[in-house]
Symmetry: C2
Subunit: 353 residues, 2 copies
């Protein structure tokens, strides 16, 4: 076995979920993430935990959508809840065989299932939980890489000193929370928002692995100025590039995109909340150097910031409501992040560097 798989498992078990004796651990794995499941099962067993593994596959999910009527989809899976209720830890190992297996399922029926099983996902969020990616051919292809390259990419982002990373992220959080506003300055960009009473969250790999971002929900109607997002992102199956947004009293008043502007337009027209920012965040993972059109990785790229149109996180004390949450990313290597009168970050360096 690739020793990096074992190191990945060690980080999930020791850092992300802090597994200890007598923990009941649910692993959700796909056939493609079998090797990582084996490594996690071994490492967690060494800690004295009991393992149960749930079989995830897009084709299995699809079979259920193909077979079930709406009445069936609207029922909760009591047995799944039964397992989750007795669990202390939940670890999801994503490695699809076919990311398109659900492409032709009616989105209404997808939402129906999510709603029916919300008690399960809510219970999982009460546990020590973590989601990660195991590099597989399907994801390598989606990222436009060979499997070897993609393994290097994933492990470059994941196998790091999270204790050290966490220390730095909490330092950034503390400094941001000691001020009442935030400002992103850079090429074609000067964006300001008030953040008083909002919480900055240091996402240090306890729930997502890899992680590396410090984020908050700005006060919705205080966002002012303009921003240019130079990193492309995927939405509705299309790559959107070169987005410019201009805000007045929190609302987008002008917008453009160099490519697929109609997708940006559709996002903004979703609902009222989609015209406001739900998130402002700083990417801190310098192990991620390139975008791969997978937001789990892209929004964490080191020396970037990102903003999301739409839904805010309640954990940040955010209040913006929307059906969407669309992240857009900007390189900051030539920019500055300012909070109150303090320069938090300038051209590749945080204040403590």
């Amino acid at each position: 076995m690739d020793p990096r798989v074992e190191e990945h498992a060690r980080i999930l078990v020791e850092w992300s979920t802090e597994i200890k004796r007598n923990d009941m651990v649910v692993i959700r794995a796909t056939p493609e993430s079998h090797d990582l499941a084996v490594a996690v099962a071994k490492k967690a067993s060494e800690k004295g935990a009991k393992i149960m593994t749930i079989f995830q596959s897009e084709e299995l999910d699809r079979a259920i959508f193909d077979g079930a009527d709406d009445e069936t989809l609207q029922k909760m899976s009591e047995h799944y809840l039964g397992a989750v209720e007795k669990a202390d830890v939940f670890i999801g190992l994503s490695a699809p065989m076919n990311t398109k297996a659900l492409a032709n399922v009616d989105p209404k029926r997808l939402v129906m299932t999510q709603k029916a099983n919300k008690p399960i996902s809510d219970r999982i969020l009460d546990k020590r939980w973590c989601g990660t990616v195991h590099p597989c051919k399907t994801l390598a292809q989606q990222a436009g890489m060979s499997l070897n390259e993609y393994q290097d990419f994933v492990y470059g982002a994941t196998l790091t000193d999270w204790e050290e990373e966490s220390k730095n992220m909490y330092l950034i959080k503390e400094h941001l929370e000691s001020h009442n506003d935030i400002r992103f300055v850079g090429p074609a960009t000067d964006l300001y928002a008030k953040t008083e009473g909002r919480i900055w969250i240091a996402s240090d790999g306890k729930h997502n692995m890899p992680s590396g971002e410090v984020f908050t929900a700005p006060i919705e109607d205080t966002v002012e100025g303009s921003i240019f997002f130079d990193i492309p992102f995927m939405q509705m199956g299309k790559v959107v590039e070169g987005v410019r947004l201009e805000f007045e009293k929190g609302e987008v008043v002008e917008y453009s995109a160099d490519k697929n502007e109609q997708v940006l337009k559709a996002i903004l027209e979703t609902d009222e909340g989609a015209k406001h920012l739900g998130e402002m965040a700083i990417g801190t993972n310098r192990g991620i150097k390139d975008y791969t059109l997978n937001m789990l990785f892209d929004e964490k790229i080191g020396d970037t910031i990102h903003c999301a149109l739409g839904r805010a996180y309640k954990d940040c004390n955010g209040t913006n409501e929307s059906a969407v949450h669309v992240d857009m990313i900007k390189t900051m290597i030539e920019g500055e992040i300012i909070a109150g009168d303090e320069v938090i970050y300038s051209k590749g360096k945080f204040f403590f560097e």
Copy 2:
């Protein structure tokens, strides 16, 4: 998908476990049985059931044995029990990737785990449950066949009219239970036992698929006479051939084997119960024509009988106790099965044929 996979799934869902609306169904699958899991999930969803799939793999099991200390192995998996308690139906789809993955685990530690999780296996037995085999390369190799041949073999045994089979098996059961004894007569064979008060069970595919046997536990000390088992069987990793046993007052008083007699000796010397018969049975599945050294299939071969040394089934009102239960099979195409004064079977035909 091979239409036989869908027919296999239909039989499991409609015949074996009679899945209906609102049933909570646990499927236990391996990566190799993914296709059958997909077909079962679809068919069960069509009935209105909710599906949860558990990931089984020998390498995952092995990782737990490698990682866990004895204290951990002796704990029950509360989360697994949590799922099973909320389930109505449990379907196990066996298709290993490596049948030898647990070969070097200390048998004491295997037993430790089985004991710890006995509440789970006991609860499963209270449900509608069924275990089956999905033909895969690993099992084909073990059976000494190509995958194509092995698929033909498994589906030949499985895709049959179980309602019709069941009717015949229950007819055999009724006639056997209307008498107080059983006698197997054939080449080098005349074996007699009393069966008063014992139950004959018609195994018609409700729990094992394929199935096809009618079996009981004879009254231990009434077995008299001799029998020659002409079909080889696997025990302790060795193939035992041409077993002859002679009984007096229920106990084996003479024995021999044409090949690996020392294995037969070891079985008989396990304990007192191993010298007595725990089971006498009639194989009725004419879709199985050849032995493959897999007892799940071999003991059901049509036109055979089998006897087991050792532990009796409580469901038959059997009382013989032993650490072992070793089945041995005899072709009956030239033999007769007699109960009381009735010839139940003679040279290829049951009384109703």
